[in-house]
């Protein structure tokens, strides 16, 4: 059983991805027997290229992807370079970690509630600071250049990249490198950029590429914050899919392939950029300059970091306020009265949707955890370590634009006459849940002293007993964290549920996205709060349970 785990994991990871891609490629060239077309043609491509505003859709989408990634990476590097080893660093670590569990959509809704013309910021201006008594006539959310979309993405990607960077720092031997550089007379920022960054970047490279790929082809956040006329290409594709005219499916498939090409080109471009930067940086490192505007950098980092935390705090406040707001007129900064009615009227439906979200998430995360444990245990028993290529495979589903293969998956599921079921949703979500569960568990698992295992076998314990009685209990905290991450990833999935399970299995996330385009603010707020609470509950349990189980075991009680 353990031996089969790696193959099974790979199949579940790559199977839907490759099959989905096939299900996209064939219709793009006119082949889709279910819809009565089985001859190869370029009609779909001609239609796609004739779409009005296509150039702009693509241009804005590419801009959003690159700006988001560059800004997020720059911010993270700046914060780390100026704050490494200070108290502010520990603060950043503690305050940014919980943000990771908040789904993209909830963050986007919160941001919209803050920056929209009738949002919290303008209310504070109008209500407290003497601004006008009417909301300004500005297009801030859904702006044509995607600025709101970029902001919404940066809010999520900065915590993500920051935590990835934190995890990579010890392997880059950052502490000692910094000490050496600083005793040679380098300033804090210069030392970090010249000594730590070149060693740490290769380790965070794949996550950075995943951020780029996500930004280039984002759907859920774009539906909430992105431009509408025309929307970015992935959103346009989703519109075509939702059109009653089934012929548009062919155009959507061609569009999805175009999106895939854009991401491939984008990653290639980023790679060239890395090369160029590395070449330029080498000269800079050789130059021997000891300072790198430490004070300016520290100023920018603290202002940007502070602004980010402030916006996030306001976003959560706005969601909470709206979900309990009764009467809330502009420009009152706070609602005139509060009520439970928003929650009460949504109660039954929300309960059902939470149930759907939970069923998919729990199943997908448990299956993912079992598979990952199987893979890691297999590695222990047969002494094989993964190589770099395997890591790329793990990241593949995170690099291929979701729309490009998810679009083909329902085609596959319909073609063999199978119903859209929970099973299908779990199967597809596994593609996204597995990589994160693996990345989360692999490090603590491999960091466990192998001599515990050797001692257990020397005491006569079989490999199975060693696994259940020694390894798993010792790794309880890491296992629960991996499970919580799996749950959070699953709760946050929009496209994977919307396209595969559709209206049969609506979740809190698909509902929030649906309500974001013109739904009632109070109802939307209720779902955004639920979206934030569910993953948070998972992480809280993952934190509390080991503390209770190991209350009499000092070595395992604290993380």
């Amino acid at each position: 059983m353990i031996r089969a785990a790696p193959i099974l994991t790979l199949a579940l990871l790559l199977g839907p991805t490759l099959a989905g891609l096939a299900g996209t490629v064939l219709p793009a060239f006119g082949y889709m027997p279910v819809l009565g077309r089985a001859e190869v043609s370029l009609l779909a491509w001609r239609e796609l290229l004739a779409t009005p505003g296509l150039g702009r859709s693509i241009g804005v989408g590419v801009l959003v992807g690159f700006v988001t990634t560059l800004v997020s990476l720059a911010l993270v590097v700046l914060i780390a370079a100026t704050a490494h080893g200070t108290r502010a660093f520990a603060f950043a670590r503690r305050s940014l970690s919980p943000l990771l569990s908040v789904p993209h959509v909830a963050m986007a809704v919160g941001l919209a509630f803050v920056v929209a013309p009738s949002g919290l910021l303008f209310r504070i201006w109008g209500g407290y600071l003497g601004g006008p008594a009417r909301p300004p006539d500005l297009l801030i959310v859904n702006d044509p250049w995607g600025v709101a979309l970029m902001a919404g993405l940066v809010l999520k990607e900065v915590p993500f990249l920051f935590l990835i960077l934190l995890a990579a720092l010890p392997q880059a031997d950052a502490e000692r490198g910094l000490v050496v550089a600083r005793t040679l007379g380098y300033g804090r920022v210069a030392a970090w950029l010249k000594v730590v960054l070149p060693r740490v970047y290769p380790q965070i490279r794949l996550p950075v590429l995943a951020v780029l790929a996500y930004g280039l082809s984002v759907v859920d956040v774009a539906l909430v914050l992105g431009p509408t006329t025309p929307p970015t290409l992935p959103v346009q594709i989703l519109r075509w899919l939702g059109d009653p005219d089934l012929a548009l499916r062919f155009r959507a498939s061609a569009g999805a392939l175009l999106q895939l090409a854009l991401v491939v080109c984008g990653i290639g471009l980023w790679w060239l950029g890395e090369r160029a930067t590395a070449r330029l940086a080498r000269g800079w490192i050789d130059g021997g300059g000891r300072r790198a505007c430490d004070r300016t950098a520290a100023g920018i980092a603290s202002i940007a970091g502070g602004a980010l935390l402030l916006v996030v705090a306001l976003a959560f406040a706005a969601i909470l306020l709206w979900s309990f707001a009764a009467e809330w007129r502009y420009p009152d900064p706070l609602p005139a009265s509060f009520t439970l009615a928003n929650w009460a009227t949504e109660g039954r439906r929300a309960g059902a949707l939470v149930g759907n979200s939970l069923s998919i998430a729990v199943l997908a995360s448990l299956v993912a955890l079992a598979l990952v444990v199987g893979c890691l245990e297999n590695e222990d028993r047969h002494g094989r370590r993964r190589v770099g290529a395997a890591l790329w495979l793990l990241y593949l589903p995170l690099l291929v634009p979701q729309i490009a293969f998810l679009l083909g998956v329902p085609v596959l599921l319909i073609v063999p006459g199978r119903d859209e079921t929970l099973f299908a949703a779990v199967l597809v979500q596994l593609v996204f849940v597995l990589p994160y569960v693996f990345l989360s568990l692999a490090d603590p698992w491999r960091a466990t002293d192998p001599r515990y295992r050797e001692v257990a076998s020397a005491l006569g314990a079989s490999p199975t007993r060693t696994l259940w009685a020694v390894k798993l209990p010792m790794l309880l905290r890491a296992l629960l964290t991996a499970l919580a991450i799996g749950l959070a990833i699953s709760f946050g999935q929009f496209l994977a549920t919307a396209l595969v399970a559709g209206a049969r299995l609506p979740t809190i996330t698909t509902e929030a996205v649906a309500l974001a385009s013109g739904g009632d603010r109070r109802t939307l707020a209720v779902y955004a709060v639920l979206q934030t609470l569910l993953p948070l509950a998972g992480f809280t349990l993952a934190l509390l349970i080991p503390g209770i189980v190991f209350r009499n075991r000092r070595a395992l009680r604290t993380p």
Partner: protein, 220 residues
């Protein structure tokens, strides 16, 4: 030793060679009788621990090794670690942090000892022998270094090993504790008539073992 009959008691190493990336770390043929101690001395990095790993069957795949290992007439090569009956003691006590002191000892008791009461009695007998009576429900993390070392030794013995493999097990203890614990380990080994294979870089350990000493990894 090749061709000679294998003694049916004690630990026999027959042309054992361990190499890493083509470089031979050690080559050894020897016999350790019951209650005897064979000390293998070498500087750190000489690969002396890999000898114990080879005997215990935990050698990392990066190493290449050959040669036969016999224990009380049984050939160990090819057997999984859990069926070799080689007790292993490291410099760190490696008590399982999620189990109580008693839980750690109970883990080692063979399944053939049946019944809760009997198993608990065996555990508390072992604790009494180690001068740790009444410690069964304690968290190992609350014990002193010397106490933990003794629990680790008792845990090894409760699994009823047929040989004892010691990987610098006295290295982390301070001088006074060290002599006590050394005596504790060797006395128990003798009482159970176990052959002992000790690797160390400390001459005092070698001397206290009272057995033969083999040096490896020295510059020729």
């Amino acid at each position: 030793m090749t061709g000679a009959p294998v003694p049916d008691s004690g630990l026999t190493l027959e042309g054992v060679r361990v190499a890493l990336q083509g470089r031979t770390l050690l080559a050894l043929s020897d016999h350790v009788g019951p209650s005897e101690v064979l000390t293998v001395m070498g500087p750190s990095g000489s690969g002396k621990s890999s000898l114990l790993a080879y005997v215990a069957g935990t050698l990392a795949p990066a190493f290449t090794a050959s040669g036969a290992v016999w224990l009380n007439g049984r050939r160990l090569n090819g057997l999984p670690t859990e069926r070799r009956r080689t007790g292993l003691l490291f410099q760190d006590d490696l008590l399982f942090p999620h189990l109580s002191v008693g839980g750690n000892l109970g883990f080692a008791l063979p399944p053939t000892l049946r019944g809760r009461a009997a198993r608990r009695a065996a555990v508390s007998r072992a604790l009494d022998q180690a001068g740790l009576g009444g410690f069964a429900d304690r968290d190992p993390a609350t014990l002193s270094g010397g106490q933990r070392a003794r629990v680790a030794e008792m845990r090894t013995l409760l699994a009823e090993p047929e040989a004892l493999l010691l990987d610098e097990p006295f290295g982390k203890l301070d001088q006074t504790l060290r002599a006590d614990f050394r005596r504790f380990v060797f006395d128990h080994a003798r009482a159970n008539r176990l052959p002992v294979l000790l690797v160390t870089h400390d001459a005092a350990d070698a001397e206290a073992s009272g057995g033969r000493v083999v040096r490896i990894g020295d510059t020729p």
